[in-house]
């Protein structure tokens, strides 16, 4: 999932300060799962914003709505009936959702209420960790299902480096050495010989090196 964290309330407050009526929009997908911008968080931020402004004697009008998915135009269209009379939109979705709302409603300013972080997985309740960098040319098949691009601090294709100690990365004792994990996994699978094969330099054009990316499925595209 795409993970996110709520921005400091002060930053959100500063964004909406000039406005009287705002639409606070959540998303039912990734940001709901990582407890950053789902219906519940929309309610909490709405309540906090209203209190922050009430303290200053201002009655900020907030409409709350949580879309099924904020990165799809079909769902964003739902907002067209509620955007009338609204001075600004505050989106609690990831950057994709914020941009989709901004693309659809060109005359209303849109502000993000969360900082989009990374593509990750839930390690346990309340903890999410980075797992994928969307390099566009997946290596997981040769690295035992552990990504050296997302999980090695140096993105080494043939690790580990000299900074690996007792299974941990030199940047922090809390960070696992991805190449240690890869080795352990290959060993468990009986595929140690795969470790000996040198992975050639990666063609980063499939990643961000090639500029903004697009997927076109001719069979689906209209």
């Amino acid at each position: 999932m795409i993970t996110a964290e709520r921005k400091p309330l002060e930053e959100i407050i500063n964004c909406v300060k000039p406005f009287e009526r705002i639409l606070l929009v959540g998303c039912n997908e990734c940001v709901t799962v990582c407890a950053a911008g789902g219906r519940k968080e929309v309610g909490i931020v709405s309540s906090a914003l209203q209190m922050a402004f009430l303290k200053q004697g201002k009655n900020l009008q907030i409409k709350e709505h949580t879309l099924e998915r904020q990165c799809d135009p079909e769902y964003v269209e739902e907002l067209s009936t509620m955007i009338t009379g609204v001075d600004a939109v505050v989106s609690m979705a990831c950057g994709c959702g914020v941009q989709e709302v901004a693309r659809r409603f060109k005359t209303v300013p849109v502000f993000p209420a969360v900082n989009t972080k990374f593509m990750g997985a839930s390690e346990r309740q309340g903890i999410w960790a980075e797992r994928c960098q969307g390099c566009g040319d997946c290596l997981l098949g040769v690295t035992g299902g552990i990504c050296p691009i997302a999980r090695c601090s140096k993105q080494l294709l043939n690790g580990p480096c000299g900074g690996s100690g007792s299974g941990k990365c030199e940047i922090s004792p809390d960070v696992d050495c991805a190449w240690h994990l890869i080795w352990e996994r290959l060993k468990a699978l009986g595929l140690q010989d795969r470790y000996e094969q040198i992975i050639p330099a990666k063609d980063w054009r499939t990643g961000r090196g090639g500029g903004p990316r697009k997927i076109i499925r001719e069979d689906l595209a209209e």
């Binding site: 519940k40 909490i44 309540s47 209190m51 922050a52 009430l54 303290k55 200053q56």
Partner: protein, 142 residues
């Protein structure tokens, strides 16, 4: 001008603090009528939005009363509640409301005296803090 009488909401777990309040009554112990009890099936049931809404509606203080450590009927509801209280205190701080207006307390079902004492102490603390700034701004004459 009438003296300030704080309104306090106490979210009380059915299995401990609520029974402790009952016990306080049976023992004929006095505690301030400012404390309005909301019975919940477990302190872990109290969500951030419940606490925020209480403050938004103008209460001056909130406390969540759960079981003693290790005694939760649902295993760890009181631990979750404690963490949530810490989270909401930070939120309150971010919007300039004194975090001391919110507390987590642990009470067993037999602690009627402790229930009454906490209710009294918390009411006095909030009385000193004064009205909820949200309410103060809404009705400047109050």
């Amino acid at each position: 001008m009438q003296p300030f009488e704080p309104v306090i909401v106490a979210f009380c777990c059915h299995y401990c603090a609520y029974t402790a309040a009952d016990m306080a009554g049976s023992q004929r112990l006095c505690y301030p009528p400012n404390v309005k009890i909301v019975r919940v099936p477990c302190s872990g049931k109290v969500d951030a939005i419940h606490i925020m809404t209480a403050f938004q509606k103008g209460v001056d203080g909130v406390y969540v009363a759960g079981c003693l450590d290790g005694d939760c009927h649902f295993k760890n509801g009181n631990i979750r509640a404690s963490k949530r209280v810490v989270y909401v205190r930070r939120l309150l701080e971010e919007i300039g409301i004194e975090p001391e207006r919110l507390e987590m307390v642990k009470i067993s079902a037999g602690m009627g005296e402790r229930f009454a004492r906490i209710a009294g102490q918390f009411t006095e603390k909030i009385r000193k803090l004064g009205p909820n700034p949200v309410k103060r701004a809404e009705s400047p004459a109050a």
